[in-house]
Symmetry: C2
Subunit: 221 residues, 2 copies
């Protein structure tokens, strides 16, 4: 029975890791759609979001079934609850990739990003995808050191995000208000995506160590 | 035993309702701080946010204890899980009120909002606070009709949010890029606050009816 339960928990972890992979791919494609004004790719991300939502429902139902049938306690209970939280964060990450894709679609065939900030978004996209892929590894390995490493990558996004604001606010910004609004929201989507990835990793740390690392700092510059 | 469990669930609902009330007050004060450039009030909201975080931890620990000690099934299990989700949404609502307060503090003694959009924020603030207070009632009464009424108020925020974008994007916008960036982010905070309030209410509907109402539409204009 105990062994069967362990197997079920491992399956749940595999499902969550699958969600990480889905949202990493979504953000990768959305970023490409944004940078290349690629409508087809944007549509694909938009169409695929329902799969992330379905995966979240499946994870949640799986977790509910575990709770109802096995009534776990102690670490096993924490693990199942962490999985429920992680699934919620991952669905949200999917939504944020969706928002990026929708922005690319909305302005098509115009590019959303002024050339001046495109490299920043290329970089934010790269780090965001890396964070989702690292969260996947953390879920599968439960490696606490790896989980802490996510916070460094998150700092990188925060730095990029802050730099983005200095660019938009600079007197040399010649792209007008509408572009500034788009870029502001897009920057926020990447930053939140990264925060959620970190939060997924922190929940894993909590399960392993029994202690929650410091609160995520959703700082707005 | 059964009766004791019911009492515990009711206590958990009272704790959550208390969180609703806290975040409603936080958003009310943050909005006032924003509109009146009131630094003292902004500081108060910023200082009080830790109370929301603590309340969330307390709710979550209470819910964990219920799960570990009572091993609920069926509706009772759903109720406890809904409470865990609601506590997470409510903490996030507190964070969003905090962001509004921080914006007010950052620009002090300058007002953050151009006069042109101040009435829109007054209105978004009013509806956001109303939503949090309605969520409080829904948690205490478990009234499904009242829960559905939240979606109407949420539509109101979405309309205001959309209108805000038309104002910022209009050629008559004479407040510059920096103000547009501030206003864009602030608008987003109100909209997300409202989405979370609706999500809290939807979880209650789910517990009562066993069916989740339609997905929240976090649409970005």
């Amino acid at each position: 029975m105990r062994e069967a339960y362990r197997v079920e928990l491992d399956e749940l972890a595999v499902e969550l890791a699958g969600m990480c992979s889905m949202v990493a791919t979504a953000m990768e494609s959305a970023t490409r759609a944004l940078l290349d004004a690629d409508l087809g790719l944007a549509e694909q991300v938009i169409g695929d979001d329902v799969k992330v939502d379905d995966a979240r429902s499946a994870c949640e139902e799986h977790a509910y079934a575990l709770l109802a049938l096995q009534a776990p306690v102690a670490t096993d209970l924490r693990t199942v609850l962490a999985a429920i939280h992680a699934a919620e964060s991952l669905e949200r990450m999917g939504d944020l990739a969706l928002h990026v894709a929708k922005a690319a679609r909305r302005r098509h065939p115009q590019p959303v990003l002024p050339e001046q900030v495109a490299p920043l978004f290329r970089e934010m996209g790269r780090v965001a995808v890396e964070l989702a892929r690292k969260a996947e590894q953390v879920i599968l390995t439960k490696d606490v050191d790896q989980a802490h490493a996510l916070e460094d990558a998150d700092d990188e996004i925060d730095d990029l995000h802050r730099h983005l604001f200095t660019v938009i606010m600079d007197k040399d910004w010649s792209n007008g208000v509408a572009a500034a609004v788009d870029v502001t929201l897009l920057g926020r989507f990447y930053e939140r995506f990264a925060d959620h990835a970190v939060s997924v990793a922190k929940r894993v740390v909590f399960v392993v160590t029994g202690r929650m690392p410091g609160a995520s700092h959703d700082e707005v510059v």
